[in-house]
Assembly symmetry: C2
Homo-oligomer: 213 residues x 2
């Protein structure tokens, strides 16, 4: 068999509030657990909270509009109308990622302003604190056209290749692969969701054993 990869959810992450030092809290939880090459998958919601991206819920529709670069589609359902939009970050998603789950009553969370920068800052701080290089992925939950349910994908990353561009390499028959670009970071984010869950209060997972990239 191949060397296994292992994935586990991290204990010891407290409820996050605006202004919390997330790198320090992650460092506390990872001390003695982290290994070089580990990839941390962090639910973007707790980054939003630490960065103060929590606003009053009164103007949810206005918040979505402010986060929107382009309306892609609208879907009317019994709860109202959901807008699928492209955000200023270039993410195409429902409601621009504006979300009321797992935040205090009367508030909503916006996505981090620059998830790649947030991931880089966390990776840098954790390396300084723990002495090992880790990858960091900020994940969020996306629906998919033509597929039931949602999967977690990467909205920001640092310290790893987010895609594995195999175009030009060959398959087992020696034939050149022309379109194959596995979306590694998205597959890692989805894998992490299998252990984090949506209601467990464990917003961080560690993925161990992937070849360094």
């Amino acid at each position: 068999m191949s060397d296994p990869i292992s994935i586990f959810a991290l204990d010891g992450i407290p409820e996050i509030h605006p202004g919390d030092d997330l790198a320090q809290l992650l460092g506390d939880a990872l001390e003695g657990t982290i290994e070089a090459g580990d990839i941390l998958v962090i639910t973007s919601k707790i980054v939003s909270k630490a960065e103060g991206r929590i606003v009053e819920a009164a103007d949810r529709e206005g918040a979505i509009t402010a986060e929107t670069k382009r309306l892609v589609a609208s879907r009317v359902h019994k709860g109202g109308t959901t807008r699928i939009v492209e955000t200023h970050l270039g993410l195409v998603m429902a409601a621009a990622g504006v979300d009321a789950s797992n935040v205090p009553d009367g508030t909503i969370a916006l996505l981090p302003v620059d998830p790649d920068a947030s991931a880089r800052a966390l990776a840098t701080a954790l390396r300084a604190r723990l002495g090992v290089a880790v990858g960091v992925i900020l994940s969020d939950t996306f629906g998919r056209p033509w597929r039931d349910g949602q999967t977690d994908v990467a909205i920001g990353a640092a310290g790893l290749h987010v895609v594995d561009d195999l175009r030009g390499s060959t398959d087992a028959q020696g034939r050149v692969l022309e379109v194959t670009v596995p979306a590694i970071a998205d597959e890692i984010a989805g894998a992490a969701d299998l252990v984090k869950g949506k209601s467990t209060g464990r917003p961080v997972a560690v993925v161990r054993g992937l070849a360094a990239s």
Copy 2:
């Protein structure tokens, strides 16, 4: 930390040819390795091969048309035109899953006729052979609108819940989740792709440690 899940690629699967007894070959490779509750993720290509879903490549466009229920979109690029279609199975994907990679020169592979039935048959045969209940997912590689790269998703499954319908349950604040339906089987298929790779000749992965479902 949570109990970890582990994922590894299975060694010992030979090149598959039409008419091969895939359940027997999988059983040989899994003997002494498999544990109750494991989920096998099997690249659908080897199921297509075993089931004889390999045709001459001369009429690739005709094969795509035959597999198509509805044309969803056409995309022109330097290599020609790619059709995104809905297959008779209800899968929306490029070229109806018709694929020339990892098959003999001059041939193309079609998707299994009934991937859920193939998964059920394999799960049943493996339970009889190995004495343990396992989940089986048939995976294939899909592009995604508005996201770079591809991820592996489940096109057939047996012995597990393919989605985890959390609608009606509550988040950490006690608020009812209204749309949350994690696509577990797709996240598992994507996780398995992290160890299988596209060019390693290891088309089967074992996912261990997911709560029985």
